[in-house]
Assembly symmetry: C2
Homo-oligomer: 210 residues x 2
Amino acid sequence: MSAEDPLSKGEQTKQSILAAAKELILDQGYTATSMRQIAQAVGVTPAALYNHVAGKDELFTLLVREAAPLEQGIDLLQGLQADTPAGLLREAFAGLLGLFASHEDYVRLALIDAQERDGAALATLVPQLAPHILGFARRVQARDAVHGQLRNLPPPVLVRAMMSQIGGYMLTERVLREVNELNLPQFDWAGALLDVYLHGVLRTPDAEEG
Amino acid sequence: MSAEDPLSKGEQTKQSILAAAKELILDQGYTATSMRQIAQAVGVTPAALYNHVAGKDELFTLLVREAAPLEQGIDLLQGLQADTPAGLLREAFAGLLGLFASHEDYVRLALIDAQERDGAALATLVPQLAPHILGFARRVQARDAVHGQLRNLPPPVLVRAMMSQIGGYMLTERVLREVNELNLPQFDWAGALLDVYLHGVLRTPDAEEG
DNA sequence: TGTACATCAGTGAACGCGCGTTCACTGATGTAC
DNA sequence: TGTACATCAGTGAACGCGCGTTCACTGATGTAC
């Protein structure tokens, strides 16, 4: 259709299959979604799927791999600009939270994988990301030797408290939304949780702006 | 068997069915677990299940309802002893985290329900718990009018940051465990996250002990 | 430019299988008189 | 204490159905000479 669209018929169909499968699986889960449903959504016979994809298993694996923002996560951790520990933490927190929030599909696919398929997808992702998280923790520590902004916390606590707050944000985003009295309209929740986190790991409130 | 066991044969079988279903569903998910598998685990014919349970749907609903620590959660929020805002927050954080951590089965069943069955179970739980969470927030606020320990944060932020950190703890407990370099052996992670949270919402570090 | 052929994308029928649930039934257990 | 009967717990076969996948096939599209 568009100018940058030299996709063959086959590629087009494959993309349609992936898109339909993603939508159905996000809605119903992996086991509850059938190849027949996917074929119908694409407008094709079930048998036709097997011209483009080896089977249901490979289809889901493709889906998860395609949705994972792994490279972006790594680039983000490696491309942090800030000089101070507080700045690094702020930048990483905001960046990672934004990354996950903008890839909610991936988060949900990963949860489905974990629950219905032993979590092979997450299991391969964590080891790939781990060294970069560790590198980030060391960098923060090294900067703090100069600036002394951080409370005396073990580096793993810095990292886990951050990941926990970010993961918790994603989790509560879906649950607490329904509790009206806890909803502040137009409120910058991500910023508020970042603020609580920074205040929690820094020595003094004033240092936060460094 | 034991002294306090006047269970009829039927009740015994029903409990066996619930136990077997719970184990299988936690392992494989709801859709992927069949009535035949459950019957086999119990040592009984599939048809026999229907003498004790209306169907697969009701079986799962029973399971979730039985696993939910709803009353304990409410009792905990209502029975807080502390006088100061900081004390209340600390007690609630530690209590709720402990409650969820000791009911991991429920957390997982609720996630399965949310993913494979539209989340009917969670949907009924949140409104039941919500008023007590709100009452708790008001209580903290009222005490703070006297003590002035808290930073100037909207009460919903206090609550959500806490729920987010607790939820994040449950989430990262399963994922980050596998990253060896982030594991501090024998470390009191719950205490560390509580510490970061309190430090994050209180005005001064010294006030935490109040 | 025309022809022969290979590759591609999709069809329709069928495979063996496991699913949730129902049904008529069988013994064993409990209850009433 | 004995007998008649209702209830209980479980069986085995069967129901209609949808599952993932395979297979022989058909046209359409692309390629080589």
